[in-house]
């Protein structure tokens, strides 16, 4: 009886597996038009920010403020691995989730069941670890056609067959030994895939590169630090532009009407700014690139002459905002430097900037016409001088790379904005060596400080046209997760205690929380399949917070819904456990250690042969 039950179970599981596997295998390629028109496609999440304009707004209403307290886990997918930390935004297409994990690994997961379809490990060169500033994080993949694209820690861009995970092409973007790595999600548009690079602490010169998505052939390279003869090169003394940082380590946004790609640019290098006096274009700013040529159409620096490691790296939000009665094409950005900005995205002109961080002291304000900071000179360290402290915000920033969420109906935007301070001390200049082989290029030390006057973590809602804060949620630990907002008025994010959070978009009231067991450093997404709205939360602390906190190493993707779509007694199919090849062969089949040779006489019914295993 028992045996029959097991067999029946296996049969049912096999059928369920076939159903589960068939659906994704039939999934259509992802066309550029689909990504372009993704706004109303609530069953998928096709690109890093869901849409090219970076709103992370989902027009779904099944989960709403009145019922979100019932949200429950449906399945959990562990990403395992040696390290930890999920900073990714999962993508969803054709019922399949595509998500990256640490060490640039990629997983394809059945969105209904949480069962792995395939996984890919780029086997990053172990040596490359010495050019990771902040862990082996990856923030996501891109989809286009029949391919999934991922950037690797050893600075390769890899195209995988989306249905099988097989490598289609694998290109070195640049020599990682010069300090480069890739942690950001690529951006696919038209027939191209674009990637930036990390390495602002290793003396790189940042760029964005576009590849033919089909073949991996290079299309264009846009250096975000101008070379000799290019406008802005004169903002770099001598040859400092060659190692000026300007990493492009997050994902850009795209305005198809203006044909402009907006990419945010990291800190200037080295940290010690005294050896590179000048504006250091376009570090700590945004560049607008012609999508077809990569030409820089305009640039705007939030922190010219960056003396505080103020990367500008959260993905830009492109919003058409009603201001003074007319609609303005804005680019919205919250910066490490503590100010929230609105720019005119057609030309890069400053519209407004408001301090979000209380006690911000590196600048006395912004020029109301140009947005140029009025710098507090006392907060600039001197080479060989004493520690300057407390500088607010610290180099961990009000925000770092974490995506904001924008509700276009109410023109409200939601983002984390942490409160912490730092001390900065610049080395004597004769102790700063130019990097030759991917060495650290800092010329400075820092110390991170907690502030006694305000809680460390804050998550803010901001009214864009009216330039005012709506509410803020505070935490004793920093926030380090992306945000998501739904049409029904819920903001999803996570905190460093590991709580997945649902906040009321109107009031900031916490409507639901779920302890995921490890801090949340990734970005939640939401989609609807078969009439069920899901919310996915990556859980597992990644990046800089691992410098200050310890927790159980973990990496889990957790799917939530109001109801589990199938009764809990019904198995979805074989889950994520597979027999190791050769470890449990059937009798007569070759195994790891023996060649499948079985003693003669085996297999006779016991009653016929007395001794079932017998050799004469």
């Amino acid at each position: 009886m028992k045996c029959k039950w097991i067999m029946a179970g296996v049969g049912a599981a096999a059928v369920a597996l076939a159903v589960a596997l068939n659906a994704p295998l039939r999934a259509e390629p992802v066309s550029y038009d689909e990504i372009l028109n993704a706004e109303d496609n609530t069953s998928e999440w096709l690109s890093y920010s869901r849409t090219y304009h970076g709103h992370r707004y989902v027009p779904l209403t099944q989960i709403d403020p009145s019922n979100v307290a019932r949200l429950q886990p449906v399945w959990i997918f562990p990403t395992g691995g040696e390290n930890r930390g999920l900073e990714a935004t999962p993508l969803v297409h054709g019922g399949v989730i595509y998500m990256s994990a640490d060490e640039s690994r990629v997983f394809a997961i059945d969105a209904r069941t949480g069962v792995k379809i395939w996984s890919y490990d780029p086997e990053v060169n172990e040596e490359a670890e010495r050019v990771y500033c902040c862990g082996s994080n990856n923030r996501g993949v891109a989809l286009l056609g029949d391919k999934v694209f991922v950037g690797t820690m050893d600075a390769r861009l890899v195209a995988l067959d989306k249905d099988t995970g097989q490598v289609v092409w694998d290109k070195p973007v640049i020599d990682w030994q010069q300090g480069y790595s890739i942690t950001g999600a690529p951006l696919a548009l038209k027939d191209m895939v674009l990637t930036g690079v990390a390495g602002g602490e290793f003396g790189i010169r940042g760029f964005v590169k576009a590849y033919d998505a089909e073949t991996g052939k290079e299309r264009w390279t846009a250096y975000v630090i101008p070379g000799p003869g290019e406008p802005g090169n004169d903002t770099w003394p001598g040859d400092t532009w060659q190692h000026g940082g300007g990493s492009t380590w997050t994902t850009g946004a795209f305005d198809p009407e203006l044909n402009l790609v907006y990419w945010n640019v990291g800190n200037a290098g080295p940290w010690n700014c005294q050896v590179r006096k000048g504006d250091n274009k376009w570090t700590a700013g945004t560049v607008a690139l012609d999508a077809d040529s990569g030409e820089i159409k305009w640039g705007f620096q939030y922190t010219p002459w960056d003396c505080w490691d103020y990367d500008s790296v959260s993905t830009p939000v492109l919003a058409d905002v009603t201001m003074d009665g007319s609609e303005v094409k804005t680019l919205l950005h919250h910066d490490k430097n503590g100010f929230f900005y609105a720019l005119d995205r057609t030309n890069g002109k400053f519209i407004y900037g408001e301090p979000i961080v209380p006690g911000l002291n590196w600048a006395k304000g912004l020029d109301p016409e140009t947005g140029r900071p009025i710098v507090n000179e006392h907060m600039i360290a001197q080479s060989g001088g004493p520690e300057i402290a407390p500088i607010i915000p610290s180099l961990e920033g009000a925000i770092d790379w974490q995506p904001l969420a924008y509700d276009p109906n109410n023109q409200h935007i939601f983002f984390m904005s942490n409160n912490w301070a730092m001390g900065y001390r610049f080395w004597e200049e004769d102790k700063i060596e130019k990097p030759k082989q991917g060495e650290w290029y800092l010329g400075a030390d820092y110390q991170e400080y907690l502030r006694p006057d305000v809680p460390n973590g804050a998550f803010v809602a901001w009214d864009v046209p009216n330039r005012k804060e709506l509410w803020r949620v505070e935490s004793d630990q920093p926030f380090w997760a992306g945000a998501l907002v739904t049409e029904s008025g819920i903001v999803f994010t996570g905190d460093n205690h590991g709580y997945a959070l649902a906040l009321d978009a109107k009031s900031g009231k916490i409507l639901w929380h779920f302890p995921t067991g490890s801090p949340i450093s990734g970005s939640p997404v939401s989609y609807e399949i078969d009439g069920t709205q899901y919310v996915l939360f990556p859980s597992g602390m990644g990046g800089d917070l691992t410098f200050y906190y310890t927790e159980p190493k973990a990496g889990n993707l957790i799917a939530f819904a109001l109801e589990r779509p199938s009764p809990p007694t019904e198995l979805a199919g074989p889950a994520n456990v597979q027999i190791l090849p050769g470890s449990l062969p059937e009798i007569g089949e070759p195994g790891h250690t023996l060649g499948g040779r079985v003693m003669e006489g085996y297999g006779y019914p016991a009653e016929e042969a007395k001794e079932p295993v017998k050799k004469e």
């Binding site: 040696e82 390290n83 172990e126 040596e127 490359a128 670890e129 010495r130 990771y132 500033c133 902040c134 862990g135 082996s136 602490e201 001390r425 080395w427 102790k431 060596e433 990097p435 082989q437 060495e439 650290w440 800092l442 030390d445 820092y446 110390q447 691992t546 410098f547 310890t550």
Partner: protein
Amino acid sequence: MSPVVERRRSRIVPLAAGLVVSILALKLPAPYADAQEENEALTNPFLGDPAAIEEGERIFRSRCTGCHWSPLRAPVLFQSELGDEQFLETVISGRQGNRGNMPPFGYVLSPDDVWKVHAFVMARDRM
């Protein structure tokens, strides 16, 4: 007490072992040779040597500072309690730490480079 060094699964370990063996076999500075013969732990021949300390500081600032100095992504090494040989092995081969992996520096630093870094960190007061 010194923390236990967890070796990573690693292609580098044989290489590092090879490096140590090669300095034992080929370069033959007396301390290594003695250690091999007597099966004692390797000791740093550069401790207290001012020129080595200066060179060690230079290497430390370019290779180690991002994690082991003020950012403190990893333990403070000044007045390290690791034994000399353990220090050498850890830098050459890397290790898996609680907050991420220490990369193997055997690819870019020679054992003498590592000894000099060690001489520097042992000459400097703990912060």
